[in-house]
């Protein structure tokens, strides 16, 4: 079993590195065909030909695109994501000032939504067709169909503007107390959570029901096992693969896909940093953010695959 897992992880890492390289080339190519460059964006209306030429030289944009790409790649391999031509500051520092905030939001949302989604999904599968199952399924479809910006905006209007229970903005300083932190993150976490809980719940329920129809579960039942045991000890381990993948997909979205939540709550996360970087044509920053999202996604999917294999009795005993 160990060899299977090791081989899988090794091949995953190799493929992951290749995908990273491909993504970096694609991102670089796409951003270089965007109209205008960092110098033009920075000068805006004030872009005279002389000012542009001087600024391009200062930013190192006078060199050809492949040359810049190779230089960037070399820097990345040494662990240095480079200097932002727009601010003149280190890209690494800019990201490290924002990434913890994003990770905190993602971690809190995950910690809240994964257990809820799993528990509800399992209960739905267990009591399939019951009133509970129907209500939970209906609610989750309804929640999935409402875009999160609507959930978030309505939440702000009700809880911040009308009731004044929670703050409308979610920026918290380092010195804020735990209670303040929870208060200010409550609305972003709930609006993000509502969408991914619904998705994971539906996936868990579907995967379990799929297994519950299999012949071996019938055998388990015939042997006299309780319904709970049939689901938890027999069906669930076989369903971990698809469930873990659904969770991984939902969680990877929490890092880069939360731009709307970051805008509505003015939360200083990394998604907004990347969008700003695109509008300012700050290529090293765009590249670095893209790499982080890509790495996070690959790690999550790999963990999901591995845990699927480890949990699956048939694969485990091969």
């Amino acid at each position: 079993m160990n060899r299977t897992v090791l081989r899988l992880v090794a091949s995953r890492i190799a493929v992951g590195l290749l995908s990273l390289l491909a993504v970096s080339i694609v991102v670089f190519a796409i951003t270089s065909v965007l109209p205008g460059d960092a110098a033009q964006e920075k000068l805006g209306q004030e872009a005279t030909p002389e000012a542009l030429a001087a600024l391009r030289k200062e930013m190192g944009l006078d060199r050809s695109a492949p040359e810049r790409y190779v230089q960037w790649l070399g820097g990345m391999l040494r662990g240095d994501p480079g200097i932002s031509p727009v601010t003149g500051g280190s890209v690494g520092e800019m990201i490290s000032s924002r990434l913890p905030a994003s990770l905190l939001l993602a971690a809190l949302t995950a910690a809240l939504s994964v257990p809820i989604a799993l528990a509800l999904g399992i209960l739905c599968a267990l009591w399939r067709g019951s009133k509970f199952d129907r209500i939970a399924s209906m609610t989750s479809v309804a929640v999935v169909s409402v875009p999160e910006f609507l959930v978030a905006t309505l939440a702000v209007l009700v809880f911040a503007v009308q009731l004044k229970w929670l703050p409308a903005l979610s920026y918290t300083s380092d010195s804020a107390s735990f209670v303040d932190l929870m208060r200010s993150l409550a609305m972003p976490v709930v609006s993000l959570g509502s969408v991914i809980i619904a998705q994971m719940l539906r996936m868990t329920r579907a995967a379990l029901i799929d297994q519950l129809g299999a012949p071996y579960i019938e055998m388990v039942r015939l042997k006299g096992a309780s319904p709970a045991r049939a689901v938890l000890a027999h069906a669930l381990p076989n369903a971990v693969g698809p469930i873990a993948n659904a969770i991984a997909l939902s969680l990877s979205y929490l890092l880069g896909g939360v731009i709307i939540i970051e805008v509505i709550f003015n939360y200083p996360g990394i998604a907004k940093l990347m969008v700003d970087a695109v509008t300012q044509r700050d290529m090293p920053l765009v590249q670095a953010c893209a790499m982080i999202f890509c790495v996070a996604y690959l790690v999550l999917v790999t963990v999901a695959d591995v845990s699927g294999i480890v949990a699956n009795p048939r694969l485990r005993h091969q």
Binding site: P35, E41, K42, T87, S97, V156, V263, D276
Partner: protein, 540 residues
């Protein structure tokens, strides 16, 4: 407030604003009297006015203390405290918290003494600035002529990358002509030098500064925290040179790009002042009863740009037809919800001291437009008009214009471009398009930047030699009355000849908590021309 109206009726809005400014800076009734008498007013009359002005002001005595949180519309990792590199209102507002200029601009954009106690010139070419004594930087170092020399001359160095290089280039040298005095020598005469030096880029920094993140200046607040793209926290500078200023203990400033988020946070009580409010959101803000809006009438405009060096703009009748098609009153009402002023196809707005009242207003006149359109021979050819959300209001103006054009048989095709990349890719690059211009500190800077024949941003490629000569002559003319006449002539020239159509000037609208007091308009931009920090106070 009623007293203020009385005052305006007596001496006109400009003078009234000037006196209110003086009072805000702590002038007494006696000072106002001196100001009015210096202007040639009879002693008795001046005495009466000074009393009215002083009592209008005394109605509200500023209180000290409190903490406020303010939000503007932009925040980016490129936010900077280096005056030379500042490029948007978030930067400018922080600049006015931490620094001072040699002068500052009042409600009519007239330069007033700040770090320079006095400024004099004989020929508008050599200027003597007497520095205020006893001013210290936040780190305790006294202000010296060397700091002023450094702060001004660094703009001329291409390596600085200054946004104000063009404005600084005519400065030949700055020398210390005494222990508390600098002399500035210009290459060509410029009567507006004190205006230029009152703008944000020319804030005074410490000699030799290379890292500006600490924001060491002489200004009313000190930097407590500065995180580019996130927020800044400013704390009161207890040794500020202006007596009793500033009023508020601490100001947190954040940039929130989403207008709805800004307004929600204001209404939820988390913010005390927000910038860039859309006129359509005003009702929502005032409906609470606890919030109000603060309108600054200013020279902000979005203009139709018809390239005169290109077909169809090289046909003067086509341009005139378009200019006569603006239904300006309707646009102000529908697009700005009344928060704007009808303009007259020339860029100097009514708040400017050189605005020419005598210029006849061009009206919406479909018959005249039709006459010129038929004379132009364009016929049914479709003319593309490029609009973009980047030029505020251009989409709406374009559509209103398109409709009016249809009535006289002119075919306009409104093409909407994305805001991203608009200025580099589309502005001034189409035969008919739109631009958007922010207020400039002086008529001279505005006209030199956008209307001089060889200006890089001469939007419509309008060339007029006589205009260029007048522009240079007006710049060097120390006599204000003569200058006003020259600027009037230039406004007429632009109104008649250029390819620019300006339908209206837009107001800047800020929203604030009613407890926040002390806001008076400075027509350079919202939030008191970016200078609110040292003027506002909290009524507790």
């Amino acid at each position: 407030m009623r007293e203020r109206k009385d005052l305006e009726a007596m001496i006109g809005p400009q003078e009234s604003t000037r006196i209110h400014d003086a009072l805000q800076r702590g002038a007494s009734r006696r000072d106002v009297l001196a100001m009015l008498m210096a202007g040639g007013m009879q002693a008795a009359l001046a005495g009466g006015i000074a009393s009215v002005a002083a009592s209008a002001h005394a109605a509200e005595t500023p209180k000290k203390g409190g903490r406020i949180k303010v939000a503007g519309a932009t925040a980016a990792v490129s936010d900077t405290l280096d005056p030379a590199k500042q490029s948007n209102h978030t930067d400018y507002i922080r600049g006015f918290m931490f620094y001072n200029g040699l002068t500052y601009l009042d409600g009519s954009l007239t330069p007033q003494p700040s770090l320079a106690e006095e400024f004099t010139t004989k020929d508008a070419k050599t200027w003597v600035f007497k520095l205020r004594r006893g001013v210290t930087f936040h780190d305790g170092k006294p202000l010296t002529p060397q700091d002023v020399i450094f702060s001004i001359m660094r703009h001329k160095n291409p390596a600085t990358g200054s946004k104000a290089k063009v404005l600084a280039d005519p400065i030949e040298e700055v020398t210390a002509s005494g222990p508390n005095e600098v002399t500035i020598r210009l290459a060509t005469a410029n009567a507006d030098l004190p205006v230029v030096l009152g703008t944000y880029h020319f804030h005074i920094v410490k000699d030799g500064t290379t890292d500006f993140n600490a924001g060491i200046g002489t200004g009313p607040y000190k930097v407590k925290e500065f995180k580019p793209g996130v927020r800044s926290i400013a704390v009161r500078n207890d040794s500020y040179w202006k007596p009793n200023r500033p009023y508020v203990d601490e100001i947190e400033y954040v940039g929130i790009g989403d207008e709805t988020a800004r307004i929600n946070a204001l209404l939820a009580g988390e913010l005390d002042l927000i910038g860039s409010v859309n006129p359509r959101s005003i009702d929502r803000i005032v409906a609470t009863g606890k919030h109000a809006i603060f309108e600054t009438k200013a020279g902000t405009y979005t203009d139709l740009v018809v390239r005169l060096d290109n077909s169809p703009g090289n046909n003067p009748d086509f341009v005139l037809a378009l200019k006569n098609l603006f239904n300006r009153e309707q646009m102000v009402k529908a697009i700005m919800i009344g928060r704007g002023v009808v303009a007259n196809d020339q860029p100097i707005d009514p708040t400017n001291r050189f605005y020419f009242k005598g210029l006849k207003q061009r009206a919406y006149d479909p018959d005249k437009a039709k006459f010129h359109f038929q004379k132009s021979g364009i016929g049914s050819t479709t003319v593309p008009v490029v609009v973009s959300p980047a030029a505020t209001g251009s989409v709406e103006i374009g559509l209103v214009l398109q409709y009016a054009a249809k009535q006289i048989g002119m075919n306009l095709d409104v093409r909407r471009m994305p805001a991203d990349g608009y200025w580099s890719q589309h502005w001034m690059k189409h035969a008919v398009g739109f631009g958007a211009i922010n207020p400039r500190p002086s008529a001279d800077v505005l006209l030199t930047s956008f209307f001089k024949s060889d200006a890089p941003w001469n939007e419509s490629a309008w060339k007029n030699e006589k205009f260029d000569q007048l522009l240079v002559a007006a710049r060097g003319e120390p006599d204000t009355a003569k200058r006003a006449q020259m600027y009037a002539d230039m406004q007429v020239m632009i109104h008649e000849g250029s390819g620019i159509g300006i339908p209206f000037f837009m107001s800047n609208i800020d929203g604030h908590n009613k407890r926040l007091k002390g806001l008076t308009p400075i027509p350079l931009g919202g939030m008191m021309g970016y200078t609110f920090a040292e003027h506002v106070w909290l009524d507790t």
